[in-house]
């Protein structure tokens, strides 16, 4: 049996009525897997559920032969988790905390543990500051510490939730390299709302919004599928509402003071629209926009 993470029919509704996950099914093979979606899409809920921190209402998830939702301890033994928002004990040094966490992960042999901690600190480039209190770390350094602890104990499932938020471009690149290397052997789930993170790194991806999986597949294939159907036009800001009313606009952005609108259509939607090569961003916005129009259409149809 291949080592895969299989999620099927996962649903979660919060006590306040928010439906965070609804019937989510995904199959995730080893390698980098991008989970793309806007804020509030349910990414973190899904991540936390996979990381054993939250209960799902229904559905199953299996990691190889481990039942993720039931056999939490087995998952934890093979899990590396970097939460979206985490802190550290400010007065403790990086080395001490990492060593402590390594013990808790089950690295019992003192010599091995020392080696692992030293290696990880080197790999995340924190070796020089290993004796410094974590309270003085910059955002990037802290994020690197986060990845170091996520790699403790040779995990086969690594979950990183919005890891590059708050990193400068250079650190982001470094971070991507680090992830890419890990992703060669194990399942890495990268949750993000930044499309380029996924297009740069991931062989497979899923787009989710409002708790539902909208699309899943290989980014290249998904992009290819949309090729030739994306049209763009530069308009004045004042025209935007009229254009939106007339065409299925998937995204707008500003360029040199003009507004660029992207429209997906099988044929040229009208005067001034030029075909452009499809990007993963278009795939993303198309998926989200389509989903939202569906959602909006429901009450009208009813």
């Amino acid at each position: 049996m291949p080592f895969e993470l299989t999620i099927s029919g996962l649903s979660k509704t919060y006590p306040n009525g928010v439906k965070a996950l609804s019937d989510v099914s995904l199959t995730i093979p080893p390698g980098m897997f991008g989970l793309l979606g806007p804020n509030g899409a349910g990414k973190s809920t899904l991540m936390r559920t996979l990381a054993t921190l939250q209960q799902a209402d229904t559905g199953t998830a299996r990691l190889g032969d481990i039942d993720v939702l039931r056999d939490k301890d087995a998952v934890r033994r093979t899990l590396g988790y970097l939460p979206q928002d985490f802190g550290v004990y400010p007065k403790v040094s990086a080395e001490t905390l990492l060593d402590h966490l390594a013990r808790l992960k089950g690295l019992n042999d003192a010599g091995q543990r020392r080696d692992v901690v030293a290696t990880l600190l080197k790999q995340t480039n924190l070796h020089d500051v290993r004796k410094k209190a974590l309270g003085g770390f910059s955002g990037g350094m802290r994020q690197r510490f986060g990845i170091a602890q996520a790699l403790l104990g040779n995990p086969r499932l690594v979950i990183v939730d919005e890891p590059t938020a708050g990193l400068d471009p250079e650190e982001r690149v470094r971070f991507h390299n680090l992830l890419a290397e890990i992703g060669e052997n194990v399942i890495v789930i990268l949750s993000t709302h930044i499309v380029s993170d996924v297009s740069d790194l991931c062989a497979r991806m899923a787009i989710i919004d409002r708790g539902r999986v909208l699309l899943t597949g290989d980014p290249a294939h998904l992009t290819a599928a949309l090729d030739g159907r994306v049209w763009q036009k530069a308009i004045a800001r004042t025209e935007l509402d009229a254009v939106k009313a007339a065409h299925p606009v998937i995204s707008t952005r500003l360029l040199a003071g003009r507004t660029l609108v992207n429209v997906v259509a099988d044929a040229a939607p009208g005067a001034g629209f030029a075909p452009i090569p499809a990007t993963l961003e278009d795939v993303y916005f198309h998926a989200i926009a389509g989903r939202r129009q569906d959602a909006a259409a429901v009450p009208l149809a009813a």
Binding site: A51, T52, Q55
Partner: protein, 1196 residues
Amino acid sequence: MRNLVTIAAFEFRTRVRRISTWVYFTIFFALAMLWAAAAGGVIPGAIVSFGSGKVWINSPYAIAQTMAFLGMVALTVIAAIMGRAVQQDFEYRTEHFFFTSPIRKWEYLGGRFAGAIAVLILILSSIAFGAALGLFLPGIDPDRVGPFRLLAYLIPFATIVLPNLVALGGAFFCIAALSRRMLPVYIGSVVLLIGYLAAQGLLRDMENKVLGTMLDPFGVVANSRLTEYWSISERNTRLIPFEGLLLWNRLLWLGIGAAIIGICSHRFTFAYPGTSGKARKAAVEGDASPVTAMATLLTVDPEPASAWRLLPRMVWLNFRETVKNIYFGVIALAGVLFFVTTSTTSGSFFGTTTWPVTYQMLELVSGTFGVFMLVIITFYAGELVWREREHRLDQIHDALPIPTWLPFAAKLGALMLVPVVLQAVLMLSGMGVQTAKGYHNYELGLYVHWLFGIELIDYWLVCVLALTVHSVVNQKYLGHFAMIVYFLVISFAPLLGLEHNLYKYGVTTNITYSDMNGFGPFLPRVRIFEAYWAAAALLLAVAGYLFWVRGTTDDWKGRLALARRRFTPPVAAVTTVGAVAMAALGGFIFWNTNILNTYTTTYDQQKRQADYEKKYKALAADPQPKVTTVKVAVDLYPREQRVRMKGGYGLENRTGKPVDVVHLFFGPGERLRINALEFSAPAALVTDDPRIGLRSYKLAKPMAPGATLDLAFDLEVPTRGFRNSDATTDVVANGSFVNGQTVLPFIGYGERGELATDRDRKKFGLAPKERMRDRDDPVGLAENALAPDADFIAFEATVGTDADQLAIAPGYLQREWTEGGRRYFEYKMDSPILDFFAFQSARYAVTKDRWNDVAIEVWHHPGHEYNIDTMIAATKAGLDYFTAKFGPYQHKQFRIIEFPRYAAFAQSFPNTIPYSEGIGFIARVRPDDPEDIDYPYYVTAHELAHQWWGHQVPGGNVQGETFLVETLAQYSALMVMKQKYGAEKMQRFLRYELDRYLLGRSTEEKKELPLSRVENQPYIHYRKGSLIMYALQDYIGEENLNQAIRAYRDDWAFKGPPYSSASHLLAKIRAVTPPHLQYMIDDFFETITLYDNRALSAKAKALPDGTYEVALQVFAKKRKADELGKETDVPLADWIDIGVLDADGKPLYLEKKKIEQEETTLMLVVPKKPAKAGIDPFNKLIDRRPKDNAIPVEID
């Protein structure tokens, strides 16, 4: 300003919408209401009152007490709300929004401050609402409710609660603003609590009252102090004025609060913490070089769960994190300071301390410090539970492959180490205090046994509870508050009638340690309760584990689902073990407390007394014979805690009527085992009521007047298992002390067994009754008050005990022998005594001495030699004085016998004085210290005097009896003390007596009576008695007074019935009082008289001949009080001391002047430079403000 209001309003609105605000509101509302309900009689078992059952539950005094106390309980709420008001921005990282807004620092701080204060006013107003609405509960006794007065609620709220909010709240607010954390805020509250506890400790010594009052941050002590001498009537009617010590205390703490607020607003900045002022910590320089290649990623596979190996390490890490900071140091230091402060007055009696014996150091620790320890445990439990989440490391931590029980267990372990450290600190402090006081018998084993073997277990039980509560409640501040509610419930449950220890978690019952008897009978019971609660703690820990929040699920539905999943077979097994153990141990306890013994609450006891009266009052009319001889063989079994009394009464019918039925009342009730009970004439048992302890025998042939009858008895009081609250302390392994009256039957109906206070009587539908018969009632005078069922009797006793113990009873040793491994002592009294005797046994050392032909012996615990010489000296001095002034001593021996401190009194039996180890044997009277009062000397002289007052001259069973017995003994002791220590020292002693008289009358349950009509009220017959008799001998002369007393003795010694009454003594005193002072006899003995004397001004100028002329203006007022203390002014024509004193307090001028106006001006010439002058400067008259009688003299 508008910004300030906006911020304040926002703070208030958001707080008011939170559930926690209303939870706090409801709890304080409920507490205040419950208190009113309990004091008002809604709960039948409750024994709550505001000092006296005569004080209305809505009197200004009661409301102020409630507000002050609950205001103090609100400390953590104040800390939480004030601290959070500013700290929340740092925790939620919203500070930048405010710091970058165009608002001023003072607007931000002021707004938050004002908003939080407003919320607290809202919350704490619930106290007033609760106290007021509690009056409308069904079942409130209308007699206990006075008229409604709005001001009675508003004034204490404004003078006590509000200043607390501003001053203490301000301090908390500032600590939070500057530290940006909550931990220091809680440390602050602990320090304040210690201030309060230290203040309480200091109050034991009268000299410290002002200091203690000022030290209390909550105004509780100040409020009590301000009203302590108020009579019942004043407590019911006077609003609490904002003056005196209360005013000063509030000003002091408001000042401290203002200073802290000032510093805070100066130091607080809107800047990012690292950039303000000195950069506190440099940021770590980031390394910008790229990440190293990953080729060398080590693939070390984790091993399977090794939780047990991780546990000690995690415990240690959690513990280190808890104690390795400044705050824990502050707490430990505060603890030491507290200990040292309170140890200065430890065991203080008349302002005189004892030797710092180890158990006293330890009681100091467990008493007040225990509260403090509970607070520390509670709040560290909160810190530990929330630590990961507060550092936002929880998600990483929770996803680690460790079992969920591990962090819970690790935190529990760390928490349990906290009291270990503090106990060790206290142990060292205790030894330090002992060393500093020159005491070197450290008893290390006792320290360790007590602190770590007993008390630590109690604290560990609290640790489990606190951690579980925080785990389950999952809201830090609510968790803290839940723990406070627990502490309150535990502390006040007995007052509400919930007395069984089986349902008070963590209560393992008290221990009274005695040097003589060690932990005595208490330890086995404590161990069983500890085991029982440990089983409960196991169940709690399971609950704490099941509901431990791991991950982000914190809704109840999700947590319940998780808990269900965590309830695996091993957990179920642990639960079963805990439940079975708890049930088994609980059953065992129940078997002991409720089956082997009868479980009685205070309510049950009262009910029994009520039933006694209801069912058997009619028996009082039956003529009964009197006891004429007692011959008894007492067998004490110290280790079994069993006593057996075999012997007989000789009875004689001294009434003029035939005796048909004899009623026997037995004190031990259901504990008593009657092996045999037989009259020398045929008699049939007609009533047998073991619950009450009554047996009635109908004589086949009635006893004719003058006829005699013998009663043979074989009675046993065994100890079976253990009881819920009290323990057998009369027969113990070492130091037995059994009063004969507690075992042997009383003949006839005894009114003393009836319920006394009107409030209790009403509860059971009994009409109010007088406590005693009128002073001259012939029915009462026909019996003596000490033993109404006998007159003077012939007495002999044999006492058997363990072979290594000495046993003693009144009388002279006839014979001593050993038989069957037991030792026997036969005593016989050579002259008639009252029917009042006791038996004692212990491993004694005996110190012997002589006075003329009287053998003096002190039987004491080896090691308690400190004051034996004093006791012997007092005995000799007393024998000198009393035989010379009052008449011969009737015995040839005088023996003082030490007994364990289960009771703190000495008691005079014929030629034998049981004397508690707690009131003199370890007293430390420093001869060179002018402050110390030699109370072993005083107590000995007092008890010796009872051989005359009580044993030679018993009083009739009427009002004023204790005036004859106790006041005369008190007077006799004072004269012996005066001889040795001089008049100056007496003044200090009398100041304590005044204090205790004034305090006593303010908690009177029925009515205060004039001295000659005292109804066994200690504050009158001892305290007021001392003051009055001392003043009287000063006014009419010691010799005169002694003559009168001697004449009285000569008339009444060994006489009766009828017995003497106060009228007889007063007649003798009147006869020796000169006509111009006759008014004093009325003022002193027949009415309650109080003076308000004070010096108004005193100026002096030097005269050419070296003398000084003093111009003195004084004020005097005399008042008479009724039985509840309502006063009326009476005209003054009294002789009062006018005095001018030198710098040493010695009088340069002291004359009695007839004072007839409120204000009097006098010109006096004194030979030397005067220092102070005034009216009644030595406080001979009773005056509620004794200190203003003399003032410093201004010299021109």
